[in-house]
């Protein structure tokens, strides 16, 4: 791990967690026979996080760093027994990734990548909130990644 790439490594760790969470979420949604748009959102999110993960790994390697791998396991914080609970997990994952990416933007190395991750996660979080039935006013955050500024 290098100091130069520390910000990107944090973002990559967040992407690993997101890939894990989306993988679990997709499987649970299928099992629960959730509405097709929810399953599609989970699949689309999984694909997007995989692409981002690979892009971050490549960037860290280009900065002579060693990309951190995923953890052996992650703890799901609550039972995924309904589609609504799964959506709540996905929204939390995206909000968390927004926070990590906003923090990483402070580091100049890889800043454009971190900003890209922040934008993409913020959009997915808003779309998931809309899917969960929230109105527009409740689906968007004024300062994605910086919730304390609200």
């Amino acid at each position: 791990m290098t100091d130069r790439a520390a910000g990107l490594e944090s973002v990559l760790a967040g992407e690993h967690a997101a890939v894990y969470g989306y993988g679990v979420a997709g499987a649970v949604l299928v099992k629960l026979q959730a509405p097709v748009p929810l399953i599609a959102a989970a699949r689309g999110g999984l694909d997007a996080h995989r692409v981002s993960r690979d892009r971050l790994s490549d960037a860290i390697a280009a900065f002579a760093g060693t990309p951190p791998g995923p953890l052996a396991a992650y703890q799901i914080p609550f039972a995924l027994d309904t589609p609504a609970a799964v959506l709540r997990l996905l929204i939390a994952l995206e909000d968390r990734l927004c926070g990590i990416a906003a923090n990483a933007v402070e580091v100049s190395v890889g800043r454009p990548l971190s900003a890209d991750v922040l934008g993409a996660a913020a959009v997915r979080a808003a779309q998931l909130r809309l899917l969960s039935g929230l109105p527009a006013a409740g689906a968007v955050l004024a300062f994605p990644g910086l919730p304390r500024l609200r």
């Binding site: 910000g7 968390r96 990590i100 300062f143």
Partner: protein, 158 residues
């Protein structure tokens, strides 16, 4: 703001096998320490490194864009997503200027969503480019504004 070590973050990510730590979604957003709303405008003005001298210009550009977008969202009262977008831009301006911003007068006609979406996307592109040039203290705010503009564009797109 403080950037926690990667070790902090990974320990927050948790290994279920170890039986310790937080859940999958715990941690990192809570580790951010941005300025409070009250002191944020002065804090974001204060840069921590060499590019600090560009910050005033970048902030001024962000303020000008937010004012323009706010005016463009002057939809009839109650019409979504324009009401939400107006509130977003007012929140952005309040933080950037340190002053409350009045809502613009509602325009009689329906706003042109495609044009507004394009304007939001353009603003996102500019903010993201500006964030690369900004000081470490201003960059997260500009990146967040870029992300917010991307979200706004999505809301405006059927």
């Amino acid at each position: 703001m403080r950037l926690p070590t990667t070790l902090d973050r990974r320990s927050a990510l948790v290994v279920a096998a170890s039986g310790v730590g937080a859940a999958l979604t715990a941690g990192c957003s809570g580790s951010i320490h941005p300025p409070s709303p009250a002191d944020a405008p002065s804090a974001v003005r204060t840069a921590g490194s060499a590019p600090a001298d560009v910050d005033p210009d970048l902030r001024s550009r962000a303020i000008a864009d937010e004012r323009r977008l706010l005016a463009a969202c002057a939809a009839p009262a109650g019409q979504e997503p324009f009401v939400t977008l107006r509130q977003l831009h007012r929140d952005h301006l309040r933080l950037l200027t340190g002053q409350a911003v009045a809502a613009p007068a509602a325009a009689p006609g329906a706003p042109a969503a495609p044009q507004l979406a394009a304007a939001e996307r353009a603003a996102a592109t500019v903010r993201r480019a500006d964030c690369v040039r900004a000081s470490p203290s201003l960059a997260p705010l500009l990146a967040s504004l870029a992300a917010s503009a991307e979200v706004a564009a999505v809301l405006l797109t059927p």
